[in-house]
């Protein structure tokens, strides 16, 4: 009997993987549900003896089993996979997400065992040596954050995993939780050991029902392995701003998800006033590898002060969309054109947005930018959670700029004025621009407003919304100036 491997990641499920799996079972095959390789344009992807059959449907089950259906050859040899440097996603496509034997057989728990053997101080040293920086977007050194919590005395400390992955174009957190949940839990347990925290909480967005189910099951299955450390799964309630760490803490405390002023830092006074490590899913998921192989091995990847690998997410109007993990330093153009294959529509690429709804729009002329925190910051852009949304030449950039403000207005927690009022007023002024009224004057007004939001907002929602707005205006000015508008502006 042939063993057929089909992913049970949400992307595969959304494209009919369950019906496909059932069809294979009816045809007499044995079906294994595995994590996704991350080649989303090929999902549902069927694997038999290492050979991949993309975009499979129940109609071509017979042909696939007979070996007569078109295939992509050995999946592992496919250039999209073979050219990656997968550390965090080393198991992607290869293991059954909730199978503890699969996990252990592929190096699972080796990091935690090492951590237990070397003790807290040595773990902190390894993580600092790795150069790992917060993968949620802020890029703060993870080891330094841990050290602060470790050095703060308290009866109770917490490890909070920020799994509120609300940025459009990002799905790496979801893929970790659905495809390799034990790795995340192991990372949290190592963090707990390093800083002296006995409790972990994963704050997971409600828009990810499959990740919620997997994480619940995973936590239950491995409770005996991570003990005395415990992990709780908490589900958000549809507020984007709860991805901001202090807002997330308020949400966990049963409050409105309003942002808190810093200081105090969560590392000193976090959840319920106790010292708290808050890390993104990808930061924590990188930790087991770092412990197993050593901080220096991790730091050998990357460039400058951007060490290690980044699971880049190619999304939007891109031909070969999916997950692409690679060391820092690769250029934006290589990612979009060489790896991503340009647009799915076949039209020319016009713009990409990097870093989610708060990230800058970048024109093709800047595709030489290397993926590096500092290089992006110098170009008035941000890497964020490394999601890249590709747009073709049919995109209307003033519409996208308006949407950035609309999104901010819809998701603002309301705590600070620049964000709450700035987004709403910005939208009104942008409508004037779109209508072609006093374009020059109104764009000057939006620029001024953006300055206020950037420097006056409490958190990144209001503070970074100017990035997409101003980058759209700066790089795609022609979209904002139709003929009559240009006359009016002159």
């Amino acid at each position: 009997m042939k063993t057929v491997r089909i992913s049970d990641d949400a992307v595969a499920l959304a494209l009919g993987a369950d019906a496909l799996a059932a069809a294979f079972e009816r045809a007499g095959a044995s079906v294994e549900r595995v994590s996704s390789w991350g080649m989303h344009w090929l999902e549902p992807l069927v694997e038999i003896d290492g050979i991949g059959y993309g975009n499979a449907t129940p109609d071509n089950v017979e042909a696939i089993l007979a070996g007569s259906a078109p295939n992509i050859g050995k999946i592992e040899k496919h250039p999209y996979i073979a050219s990656q440097q997968r550390l965090t996603f080393a198991r992607a496509g290869k293991t059954q997400p909730l199978d503890l034997d699969d996990y252990k057989a592929t190096g699972g728990w080796a990091g935690l065992e090492k951590a237990r053997a070397i003790g807290s101080e040595a773990v902190l040293e390894e993580v600092i040596a790795s150069g790992l920086r917060g993968r949620g977007g802020a890029g703060f050194p993870t080891g330094i954050k841990w050290k602060t919590v470790a050095g703060t005395d308290a009866e109770q400390k917490y490890i909070v995993c920020n799994a509120d992955e609300g940025d459009s174009a990002t799905f790496a957190d979801r893929m970790v939780m659905e495809g390799d949940p034990y790795m995340l839990i192991e990372g949290m347990a190592i963090a707990g050991l390093a800083v002296g925290a006995s409790k972990g909480v994963v704050y997971l967005r409600s828009e990810y029902p499959h990740a919620i189910k997997k994480m619940h099951a995973a936590v239950q299955n491995c409770a005996h392995i991570i003990a005395p450390f415990t992990v709780d799964i908490r589900v958000g309630a549809g507020a984007y701003v709860c991805g901001e760490e202090t807002s997330l803490l308020n949400s966990l405390e049963g409050r409105r998800g309003e942002v808190r002023a810093k200081p105090p830092l969560p590392a000193i006074k976090g959840l319920f006033g106790k010292p708290t490590v808050i890390n993104n899913v990808l930061s924590l998921a990188a930790v087991p590898w770092i412990l197993e192989h050593g901080g220096a091995a991790y730091a050998a990847y990357g460039i400058g002060r951007s060490k290690g690998t980044m699971p880049v997410q190619l999304a939007g109007n891109v031909k070969y969309g999916g997950l692409y993990e690679i060391a820092f330093g690769i250029t934006l153009g290589e990612l979009v054109n060489d790896i991503g294959g340009g647009t799915a529509s076949g039209r020319p690429v016009r713009a990409v947005q990097v870093g989610g709804p708060l990230g800058a729009y970048i024109p093709v002329s800047q595709f030489g930018l290397p993926f590096d925190y500092e290089a992006f910051a110098a170009a008035d852009a941000l890497i964020g959670h490394a999601g890249i949304t590709v747009f073709d030449d049919s995109v209307d950039m003033k519409g996208m700029a308006r949407f950035a403000l609309e999104f901010c207005a819809a998701e603002s927690c309301g705590k600070c004025t620049p964000c709450r009022l700035g987004s709403a007023r910005g939208m009104e002024v942008m409508d004037e621009v779109i209508a072609g009224r006093d374009v020059g004057k109104n764009i000057a007004l939006i620029s001024d407003l953006s300055e206020t939001m950037k420097f006056g907002s409490l958190c990144a929602l209001g503070g970074f919304t100017p990035y997409p707005v101003m980058s759209a205006i700066r790089h795609f000015r022609e979209d904002f100036e139709n003929d009559s508008a240009m006359e009016a502006a002159e």
Binding site: G236, R256, A315
Partner: protein, 148 residues
């Protein structure tokens, strides 16, 4: 006399508070369970939850009204959450919206959601716990037909 609602909510509160270091930390899980049970969080439910957690009604109301997920009234129609964030816009979701709303009229509610994490295979939608991707006009129409 204790109402059925009060009894149910008390049981939900007891279940969650037992696991918390600080009782009010259980508020969101409690609200999720109440909504799962009744389809919404009514004013009466808010009263019982506030009493159970020793909070004011205003505090609980403030939390319920802050989060997009909580409903004050039960949904009148089955809900299709259509993603209209940037990646799905880049893949053409906006061109589907008007037709979808027309097709769904009186049968299903098309609500906007920002990101389902299916950003390379959009346009995407969520119905209950089921995800759907690579939606085009006929597929979305079929989804509306199946949901309604």
């Amino acid at each position: 006399m204790i109402s059925q609602l009060e009894e149910t909510i008390e049981a939900i509160i007891a279940r969650h508070v037992a696991q918390e270091d600080v009782a009010r930390g259980a508020l969101l899980p409690i609200l999720h369970d109440v909504q799962a049970e009744y389809g919404h969080v009514s004013e009466e439910a808010v009263r019982h939850i506030a009493a159970g957690l020793n909070l004011t009604r205003a505090e609980v109301h403030g939390v319920v009204s802050f989060y997009h997920d909580y409903r004050k009234e039960p949904p009148k129609l089955p809900v299709i959450k259509l993603c209209r964030a940037e990646a799905c816009k880049a893949r053409g979701v906006e061109a589907l919206v008007e037709g979808a709303e027309r097709a769904a009229k009186g049968k299903a509610a098309i609500e906007t959601v920002y990101c389902l994490g299916l950003c390379a295979v959009g346009p995407a939608a969520l119905v209950g716990d089921d995800v759907h991707a690579r939606l085009d006009e006929p597929k979305l129409a079929a989804l509306i037909g199946d949901t309604a």
